[in-house]
Structures are given as C-alpha cells and as structure tokens.
C-alpha cells in the first residue's frame, strides 16, 4: 500500500495538510489564503476597536471630548480622569472594586469546591445513585423556577442586602458541573484503582490522584466562575439595595444608565469618565484570560456539547 503510494505522482500532495511541508499550491488557494488573511485582520480589528476606542477616550481631555473627539489616538493625553474616577466621592470606586474582588474570591473558591464535590461523584458511572442524580442535576438546565420564584425565595430566606444574596444564586452552574464531570470521566480508571490499592480512601483518591490530573479543567473553571462573579450586576440589582455592598459592575451600570440612576452626578458624567471606569473594570479580565487559553480550549473540547 505505502509503496504504491510513494511511487504515485500524487504523493507530494498527500501531505498538503501538514503546515510544515512547503509544497506548490494552486493559484486559487493562494488567492484564498490572501483573502482569508484580510478577513482575519478585519475581524481582529473590529473586535478590538471598541476597546481601543474606550482606552483612547479614557486618556482624552474633557475639552476634547466635548469638542467631539472620536479618534483612536487620545487628544490632550492625561491621566486626570483616572485620578478623578478613583478619588471621587471619597474613593467610592475603590470600595466597589474591593467588593467585587471579595465576592469574586469567596464565590470562586466556594463554587469550585462544591462543583468538584458534585462533578466527581457524578463522573463515577458505576455509582448507583447516579441513575437518579444525573437527571436530577441535568434537568435544571432545561427548566427552572424563573425570575419571580427565585426572587421570592431569596426574600423568604432573608438574603436580601447580604453578600450571600449575591453569591448563592449562582454558586453551582450545572453547565460547568457537566464540563467537569466529562473531564473527570477521562481520567484513567487504573490510576484511581492503583491509589485505592495503595490504601487511599475515596477522598484521598480524589485529592491525591484526580485533582492533580485535573489542572486544565480546574484552571478553566476558576476562570469561568471568576469571570461570572466579576461581571455579575443583576443579582446586585435584585438583592443589594445597600450601596456600600455594590460590586463595581452594578455601579458601572448605574453610571452608564445615567438618567434615573440613584447617583445624581451620573447624569452629567462625560464619556471619558465612563470610559475610565470601564477600562479599570475590564483590565483584570483582559490580563488573565489569554494566559489560560490552552486550558479552557482543552476543557471545552473534552466537555463537548453533550448534555
């Protein structure tokens, strides 16, 4: 088989999908590659443009904003707006920022812990209870209580105006549990059995064998949960009336919404102030997500879309 292939004239083209092989390509394909590159440059630019615009606005002077500055290069470059945003109303922005950091840290740790507690047993297909537990968990993805029933429950539990009112409604995400379960399922059973033979109990197997092998999924889930807590504003709107407990995302919502906001200055806030606040809020995410890209791509791959 291989001999006949090697002698055939098509042999060179067989490896056309190997990027390291430099083979003569058809003219049509070269034209395609050229346009493909153009399309990719266009997509990358369009994706980044709003962010670049925000950054530019945030460094632009107020006069230039009122004069109608719309370019990507800041006019009258200054960092006064940043200082103003941070120090305004007795360091109000920093307090909201700190709230977000606290909620994100506590929420992410708890979410990770309890999601593992659920996903790991779910990954043991032999476990008897999974015949009931799997559908019990998965069903909540397709049908739920709806906004009002959840809201009324939170009122009843007296979680309004407490940090837990913000965190608990999103503590365990079923979709993420399913992703984790798929990953745990892919861990070789022999390794876990070997651990048991060496005298580890089930917790020990999870902690000393499954957990160290699960870095990709744990990194992925850390990112996903942290982003979820960092970005959430709606739970704050529903459950946190006390301004001192607001996360920064909700504060941003009130200043962007402007008219009708509870903050009287909000209506007059100019574009550069809003831009500064947005840049400061987005910054940590932009710094973190590319670093673990290879993990979440892998995690999503294994999780697939099933269930």
């Amino acid at each position: 088989m291989s001999k006949s292939e090697q002698s055939s004239p098509e042999f060179k083209e067989i490896h056309i999908h190997n990027p390291k092989n430099k083979i003569k390509e058809s003219k049509g394909y070269k034209v395609f590659t050229f346009f493909n590159t153009l399309i990719m440059i266009f997509i990358a630019f369009v994706t980044l443009y709003p962010f670049l615009y925000l950054v530019s606005q945030s460094f632009t002077s107020e006069q230039a904003i009122y004069a109608g500055h719309t370019g990507l290069i800041p006019e009258g470059f200054n960092i006064k707006t940043y200082i103003y945003v941070v120090t305004r109303n007795d360091y109000e922005f920093l307090k909201y920022y700190l709230n977000t950091i606290i909620y994100t840290l506590i929420g992410t740790v708890l979410s990770l812990f309890f999601s593992c507690m659920l996903a790991y047993p779910l990954s043991k297909t032999k476990l008897k209870i999974n015949k009931i537990l799997s559908p019990f968990v998965i069903f909540t993805m397709y049908f739920g209580g709806g906004l009002i029933a959840n809201y009324v429950l939170m009122l009843k539990l007296e979680l309004k105006n407490s940090m837990w009112g913000f965190i608990l409604p999103m503590l365990i995400s079923t979709y993420y549990v399913i992703l984790m379960r798929s990953f745990f399922m892919s861990i070789p059973k022999d390794l876990e059995e070997a651990g048991e033979i060496d005298g580890l109990n089930k917790f020990g197997v999870f902690w000393h064998i499954a957990r160290p092998l699960s870095t990709p999924i744990i990194a992925t889930m850390t990112l996903f949960y942290a982003v979820m807590y960092w970005n959430n504003w709606f739970n704050a709107k529903l459950y946190l009336q006390d301004k001192a407990k607001w996360p920064v995302a909700y504060f941003l919502q009130t200043i962007i919404r402007g008219a009708g906001a509870s903050d009287p200055d909000a209506q007059q806030m100019s574009a550069n102030i809003k831009s500064c606040a947005m840049v400061l809020t987005v910054l940590p995410i932009i710094c973190v997500y590319p670093a673990i890209q290879k993990y979440y791509v892998q995690g999503m791959m294994l999780g697939g879309v099933k269930e």
Partner: protein
C-alpha cells in the same frame, strides 16, 4: 456498557431464582445492592450531600415555586402561595396585547440573531481552520474570544458610546454628509444593534466547539480525498462539514431550544432597551421583570415566566427529536 448491564440483569435473575422463597425478592436485592454501594462508596455519597441540598433549595424549590402562577402570593407569606389554584393569571396575560407584543419581539430578536450568527460562526470556524501560521491563528483566536469574557454592562456601555450622537459611527456618517442618527433611542434600529453586537460578542467563542471537532477529524480522510483529486473547497464540503455535522446539529438544537427563552438576551435587552424603543425591545423576560419585580404583580409575572419556560422545553424537545431522526445526534 450494555454487556455489563446484561450481566447485571443475568445476575439479578440468578439471585432472584436463588431467593425464590423470599417475599418480593427483586426489590430486596435492589435495596441490598444500594446499601452495599453506599457502604463501599460512602465518601462519594457524602460529597454530594451539600450540592444536592443546594440543588433542592435553590433550583427545585423555585421550580415548584412556579405554583405561584396558580395560587395567590401574599407579601411575606408562603412562597408557594395561598388559596385555591386557578387559571385566572394565565387568562390575564393571554388576552393582553403587551404580552403578545413582547412574545413576538422575543421570537423575532432571537430568530434574527440565530439566522445571522449561526452560519457566520460556522464560516469563521472553517476559515480559522485554514490558517497555516499557528501563531497568527492563535492570535486571531485569542482576540476573538475577548468579548465573550466581558460583562454585559460594559458591552452595552461600549455600544452606547460608539452609537451616541457624538460617537465615532455618527462622526463617520457626518463626514460622508449624512444626518446624525440617535440609534439608541430609535425603535427601528434596536434589532440591528442587538444582532450585530451579539455577533460581535459571540463569533469567536462560538467557534471553540467547531474547532475542537475539526481537530478530531482523522487526517487519513483528507489524504484519501487528495488522492481522489479533491480540491480544497471540495475537501471542506465533503470531509470537514460531514465530520462536524453532529456538533452543528447539537449546537443548533440548543439554539432552537433557546428561541423563546431569554438566555443571554435578557441582560442585553434590559441594558440597551429604553421606553423609547419598547415597541421592538420589550421581550418576555424583561416584561416579566417589569411586571413582577417592579410592579409587584408576582403571580402574573410567574405565570408568564412559566409559560415561557414550558414553550422552551417543548421547542427543545422537538428540536431534539428532529435532530435524532435527521442527524442521528441528540441531547438525550
């Protein structure tokens, strides 16, 4: 897997035969097996206790809280309402015009978004797959994932800045000699803004599962196609697409199941919509929010939410059935 089940069945019948004298032997053995399973794996059972309690309290109690659609809720009273159940709340919204307006807006917005986004995502994934330079490919991917991680508050803040009368889009229109358009407060622009910004936000992230499916394709299929003299385009049409068809089908089911649902639409519509654009921007979930949380009509809002949830479930089940027949893949 199936063999194991068969073995189990066989074992069970054997045991049943051996315990023929006992009362309801099958039941007893099943219980025995379960007790034995708990005894061996008690630590695993212990692990799920807190999460299961969480699911009961925060997922299933609200699910049964849907009973508020039928029973009157009194402030501070039981979350399952009081009094005799009735269908009057359903009657109230089924005959109300604003509800049907919101319902059709939901379908139109989600439908348009699906029609535009779905093929674009697939095409983008196919184009990404053709990039040979791995560094360039990774760069484009990283950049295109960015909007997925950004809070909807910021996404909508950016949209408002870009589209404001003093923003860059209007500056461009003005430089071409056109009239400035106050996009955000015009109802006829809302759908376009919703769809375009949605595509902007989800295009890159939507390709992850396609790309994952594409890396799983056996290279020998491409080699065989090359030997048969297939062009690049033919290989995409006859190898890549058929191989990722299950992924396409599954994603399509999920999207169709979400047509009536609010999913990601709620936050964006809530943040971008305003009273001036209400005729195109009010969707069922924002309607539920306004009726329930803001106006305090909890029962009515629950009834609407339940109606929406049930339609969703039915749509998802139908899409799943069709996909099982046509593409031989299904969610369950």
């Amino acid at each position: 897997m199936r063999d194991k089940e068969k073995n189990l069945d066989q074992e069970m019948t054997e045991e049943t035969v051996s315990e023929l004298e006992q009362w309801s032997p099958a039941k007893i053995t099943r219980r025995k097996r379960f007790v034995k399973d708990v005894r061996v794996n008690w630590q695993l059972y212990l692990m799920v206790v807190v999460p299961v309690a969480y699911y009961i309290l925060f997922r299933y109690v609200p699910m049964f809280g849907n009973i508020l659609a039928f029973r009157k809720y009194q402030s501070g009273g039981s979350i399952f309402g009081t009094g005799a159940p009735s269908f009057k709340y359903f009657g109230q919204f089924i005959t109300s015009k604003p509800f049907w307006q919101a319902f059709s807006n939901t379908l139109i917005l989600n439908g348009l978004y699906l029609i535009v986004r779905f093929p674009l995502t697939l095409i983008f994934a196919l184009l990404l797959n053709e990039i040979r330079n791995l560094h360039w490919k990774k760069f484009v991917q990283t950049v295109s994932y960015l909007p997925h991680f950004i809070s909807m508050v910021i996404v909508c803040g950016m949209i408002k800045e870009l589209l404001s009368t003093s923003g860059p889009i209007n500056a461009l229109i003005a430089s071409w000699g056109g009239e400035k358009i106050p996009f955000i407060s015009l109802a006829q622009w809302f759908r376009s803004i919703f769809v375009v910004s949605g595509v902007w936000q989800s295009l890159g992230w939507g390709t992850i599962l396609y790309l994952a499916a594409m890396t799983g394709i056996n290279p020998s299929l491409y080699e065989a196609a090359t030997v048969d003299g297939a062009s690049h385009f033919q290989k995409v049409m006859h190898v890549t697409i058929p191989c990722i068809l299950p992924t396409i089908a599954t994603l399509l089911i999920l999207d169709i199941g979400g047509l009536v649902g609010s999913g990601g639409a709620f936050e964006k519509v809530f943040l971008l919509g305003n009273p001036m654009t209400a005729e195109t921007s009010e969707i069922v979930s924002t309607y539920v929010f306004h009726m329930g949380v803001e106006s305090g009509s909890y029962n009515l809002a629950t009834a609407i939410g339940l109606f929406e949830g049930l339609i969703n479930l039915i749509l998802l089940t139908c899409a799943n059935l069709v996909s099982r027949k046509v593409a031989k893949t299904s969610l369950w």
